[in-house]
Amino acid sequence: MSSRRDDEFTLYVAARLGSLRRIAFLLCQDWQLADDLVQTTITRLYLRWTRASTVEHTDAYVRTMLVRAFLAERRSGWARRVSLDAALPDTPWPDPDLAAALDVRAALASLPPRQRATVILRFYCDMNVNQAAQVLGCTAGTVKSQTAKGLDALRRALAEEPSYQELRDHG
């Protein structure tokens, strides 16, 4: 195997690792699982590097691999047996930013995997409807409906629990 291939691959992955981990974390809601997902993705990427490196949008190609690996894993037997606990600690955190972050994490975790992926692609990866549809392998209409459902669920989840600020103001 040519070392240049390895060099290019290493440089590419090193430059994108942080971004891939963050997306994976939002999808998985757990850093260990996120790192496992990224590890799986970049191993597959190595095998497909000759194609990935010559497509027009390598980043989009890799994000597609990541999201589809996540969705495939969620459909697997393992994902059915193991579920992440989305519960928050009983005591509000003293740091309002951290409290907000935990609220959002819990709200995201409450979404079904496909809705979660849709919301993350649209609002974190800044993809338009068509791009998200391509990644998810569905129609733009499905992306729109999944986005609407996901946002609605997020709004409800975030509104159900009073925020730290509200607790402080009213408590």
Binding site: R4, F25, L47, T54, V55, A72, A101, V135
Partner: protein
């Protein structure tokens, strides 16, 4: 909640990432292992592939001459049905569904089995061919990969709720020279690729076909079932190679993260004609019973559960399964065993790593790789009782890189694994359908 507010919330939800547990070196190592195993098949398959091509010669004598292709645009005639009326909705993991017919001179085939789809369905099978022999320069290392998807595994999608049949997609593309909305073939199996349809291609055996933006050939081989033929090179930057001959399109890049920008390079007409010719000669639905030239005894139960076939190779004019990949739960690909027809010259000596051993009276090469992050042993023999053998054992569990494979399993070294191997000779009549004992 507006978009920017939501993005801000998502950013906050990520917070400060802990140190990464991701290892690029491990990805390279495991990826290389898979590629090396693939290439081992190619090396072993080379002389046999020639025999298979010669067999096909008798079927299509006008297209081939002495195993060498004429590089013309003629699409060969086939005895296969033109279009598969009832393609399967899933593949059997250890039965190759599609196989190459005509291949350009110097190409040899190896086949990798169906990949398990997300729902546990074997939805995709791949076959890989590449040039054989020492390349005179890097651009000689051409690959051709065939991916075959089960019926219903792919669909054509576009903007809005656009969902098109192949015929509609062709009309859509032909009616609009510069069509506004992109179409793509989205497949759920295997790597879960989305193939952007860039233009219409000539039909492949009666099935509608497309080129994607990269120059991959995509065609419907049966009702609702799609295949893709992907040309690639073993080099990363073909545009920098003076020998690059337009094997595929290289899009212009204004500036990439790894190199400076470059103009676009267009796929050659010769490459397109060759892809069409290869695609037109693919055979489908050959479901001969799978037999193996070996038995493997004493396989731990936990390893057996994760065992998957590693590949197929042509023999006596049909594809036979060559081996298995298995291992403990933490590394289900820790051990790979391939046994095929004798392949003289199929083993390579690596200075400083390889040593000669005698196994069952035949010469073999035992290679031990003991480097940071890479602890492997391979045993390669080109002719033992008329069979070629390749054993590849990962001596450490990759996830931890410090845990040795359980000695108690009796699979602690490549030679120990060979001790569990029973060879059934070169005659497939004596082979077994149940190799794992």
């Amino acid at each position: 909640m507006d978009d920017s507010r939501l993005r801000d919330l998502l950013e906050r939800a990520v917070g400060d990432p802990p140190p990464a547990r991701v290892s690029v070196a491990l990805a390279r190592s495991q990826g290389r292992r898979s590629l090396r195993r693939r290439r081992m098949f190619l090396t072993a398959a080379a002389p046999v592939a020639a025999a298979a091509v010669a067999l096909i010669l008798t079927v299509v004598p006008s297209d081939l001459s002495g195993g060498h292709a004429r590089h013309d645009n003629t699409v060969p005639q086939h005895s296969n049905p033109a279009f598969v009326a009832h393609p399967p909705s899933r593949f059997t993991l250890n039965v190759p569904y599609a196989s190459f017919g005509w291949l350009p001179a110097g190409f040899s085939a190896a086949y990798v089995p169906a990949e398990i789809g997300g729902a546990g369905v074997a939805g995709t099978q791949s076959a890989l061919v590449e040039t054989v022999g020492a390349p005179s320069h890097e651009a000689d290392g051409k690959d051709l990969e065939l991916e075959v998807n089960a019926a219903g595994g792919c669909r054509i999608a576009g903007s809005g709720s656009l969902r098109l049949t192949a015929a509609e997609a062709l009309r859509y593309i032909r009616d609009r020279a510069a069509y506004l909305h992109p179409l793509w073939l989205s497949c759920t199996g295997g790597g879960g690729d989305a193939w952007p349809l860039a233009g219409a291609a000539p039909q492949v055996k009666g099935g509608p076909a497309f080129w994607d933006e990269r120059g991959d050939l995509i065609w419907e081989y049966g009702r609702g079932a799609w295949a893709e033929l992907v040309p690639s090179l073993m080099i990363m930057e073909p545009q920098r190679d003076p020998h690059f001959d337009g094997w595929f399109n290289v899009p212009a890049k204004a500036r990439s993260a790894v190199r400076s920008g470059h103009p676009a390079y267009k796929q050659s007409a010769a490459a397109r004609a060759l892809l069409l010719k290869v695609a037109a000669s693919v055979h489908y639905g050959d479901s001969t019973p799978q037999v193996y030239g070996f038995t493997l005894s004493g396989v731990p139960a936990g390893w057996r559960a994760a065992a998957i076939p590693t590949g197929f190779q042509p023999m006596d004019g049909r594809l036979v399964n060559t081996g298995w990949q298995l291992g403990p739960g933490s590394d289900t690909g820790g051990l790979s065993i391939s046994v095929g027809p004798a392949a003289p010259g199929g083993c390579k000596f690596f200075a400083g790593q390889s040593r000669y051993v005698t196994i069952d009276g035949a010469q073999g090469l035992l290679r031990t790789i003991d480097q940071t992050g890479k602890h492997e042993q391979t045993l390669c023999a080109s002719d033992v009782q008329g069979l070629s053998i390749f054993i590849d054992l990962d001596l450490r569990v990759p996830a931890t890189n410090d845990t040795t494979l359980p000695e108690s399993s009796g699979f602690g070294s490549a030679l120990a694994v060979f001790g569990h191997l029973g060879l059934l000779g070169p005659d497939p009549a004596h082979w077994t359908t149940n190799p794992l004992r």
